[in-house]
């Protein structure tokens, strides 16, 4: 008994040591970024490890104006917002139809659409760029949002499938007997029951779209249209900037997501793992 207690304590200690190491590895680089962004250039060189002795916030103002963060935030909001507004309702409708309705060709059409998951977005990027060049859609933000929506519609439809299938049968019939149209039954009865699925789409698609760089960097060619990641990539290429300002820009690009994450971390983690486990 004594022996096993000792073993218990020992393994607990090992656990905490491992947790501490992993914690430092994951969190310290981010803290370092924030610390560095709040230092003067002199302090960055003299005290590069620890929190600033004198907190200096001027870097943020410089970064905000020089990296044109305001415009880029608006562009990112516009593109991600439009993308989600198209992608989620459209794939919800399709997924509902595929999961709960009977019609001719259902299985074939669903398989055809799922085959879209076979084409990785990284493979699709250059062909899409070619199409956008061909149709003079370069630098068109709304066009890009539509492209994003189309690229991920198969995936979203697939993710929602489990949520529709798991609802009890006969819900729609009850609703139509109560006087709902078929679409009304979907919109008023079924959709509210799939909130966890909608959360997953919002979080997963929202985050990956907010950070999308590959296609955006090819398509958005002028400052006035660029998103936060594209702007950040260009900004770090600029040789003339100070490191503290660069870190301030990185922090500005990161903080909104981190704040969002800290407040909804439960939804984030359960949402993404649930989606992944089911997907």
């Amino acid at each position: 008994m004594v022996e096993s207690k000792k073993f218990e304590v020992g393994s607990l200690v090992i656990c905490y040591i491992i947790m501490a190491i992993v914690l430092v590895l994951t969190v310290y680089p981010l803290l370092w970024m924030i610390f560095s962004s709040c230092k003067t250039v002199n302090e960055f060189y003299s005290n590069s490890w620890l929190p600033p002795v004198q907190w200096y916030f001027g870097n943020f103002i410089t970064a905000w104006t020089r990296a044109k963060m305001g415009v880029r935030y608006l562009n990112s909001l516009l593109i991600t917002g439009t993308y989600l507004l198209i992608n989620i309702p459209v794939s919800m409708c399709a997924s509902y139809s595929f999961s709960r309705l009977q019609f001719k060709g259902r299985k074939k059409l669903y398989t055809a659409m799922l085959s879209g998951i076979l084409i990785p977005t990284g493979v699709l990027t250059l062909p899409i760029y070619s199409v956008m060049v061909n149709f003079r859609l370069i630098n068109n933000r709304i066009g890009l949002a539509f492209v994003y929506a189309g690229m991920s519609v198969a995936f979203s439809t697939f993710i929602m499938h489990t949520f529709f299938v798991s609802l009890p049968k006969g819900l729609e019939e009850a609703a139509t007997i109560d006087g709902c149209s078929r679409f009304g039954a979907f919109a008023r009865v079924i959709v509210p029951l799939t909130k966890p699925g909608i959360m997953i789409l919002l979080i997963y698609n929202g985050i990956s779209n907010w950070g999308e760089y590959h296609l955006a960097s090819l398509v958005l060619t002028t400052n006035a249209k660029q998103t936060v990641p594209v702007g950040m990539a260009l900004f770090q290429d600029n040789q003339a900037i100070e490191y503290t300002v660069l870190f301030a820009a990185l922090t500005l690009a990161t903080v909104p997501l981190v704040v969002l994450y800290v407040f909804c971390q439960k939804a984030f983690i359960t949402g993404m793992t649930a989606g992944a486990v089911k997907g």
Binding site: I14, C15, M19, V22, L23, P29, L30, F44, Y45, W49, I86, V90, C93, A94, S97, L101, L114, S115, I117, L118, I119, P120, T121, G122, V123, L124, L126, P127, S130, V131, F146, V147, G150, V153, T176, D178, S181, R182, F183, G184, I207, G211, H214, L218, P229, M232, A233, Q236, Y243, L250, A253, L257, V258, L260, Y261, V262, T273, A276, V277, G279
Partner: protein, 307 residues
Amino acid sequence: MSAKSKAPKSPLMRESIGDMLFPYLMIVPAFLLFMVFTIYPFAFGFYVSFHKWDGLTAMKWLGLRNYINVVTDPEFWAAMKHTVIYALCVTIVKNIIAVILALFLARDHLPGRTLFRTATYLPVTLSYVVIGVLWKWIFNPTFGLLNPFMRAIGLGNYIVGWLSDERIALYSVIFVDIWKWIGFHMVMYLAGLTSISKDYYEAAAIDGASGWQRFRHITVPQLNSTIFTNILMSMSGAFTANYAIVNMMTGGGPNGSTEVAATLIVKTGLKYINLGKANAMTFVLFLFTFAMGMFQLKTISHDENYE
């Protein structure tokens, strides 16, 4: 809602044309988007891959010449080699580390685990651009964090040019990709582990099974589907989703040692303005990812049968 539709209560009325079309109307928008922005570009890219095209002037038919250029291009095969190394390393290391961590943390009472989980999951939410730039500075030989740290713990002799040494740079980038996702996979494995019923372990303990035996004969089989999903998730995209991070950290250098297929394709298309060859490369890369994708689709449809 009752005002809008006068409840079609008789079964005869319910089979109106609108009702019959309803399932199709619901999938039309998604299908249109899918056709226009996935299937059409795919076909168009394939078409372009047989042409000489700069994006502005008219296309010129080349037949298979782009493909011959691609498969005889040593630069392309070097990039493919880096891509495969990248995908394999990322997939294997992510999963092994995540399983080990999850095994350590999956115990009944571990105060502070939630906080730990929240913190390690943080990098998942950040974009590759931010992470790439940040780590480029951590690896920086003059101002970075890593070298002073290594000197401080007495490993100063092992300092190398993390991003400037041709033999090392690719692995530095791979490390950062793993760093970003480790928390995500760990959380998934933790969820899988905590869902295994305690009864199995109790029964095994009564039978006198050793720790390894319990791991081998209970944990692994019970965790099978979780392992499977995790491997698929980290593998899908590992071949093609590395454009941002490579571009941020090394830009394909030094001396092409971190050039992966995704970056070479963009370079060919935009810098050398050769959209035909770039699209041809895309489709050779697609062939590589296709085999894996088929495998994935099989498991997806298998799950469907299961339901």
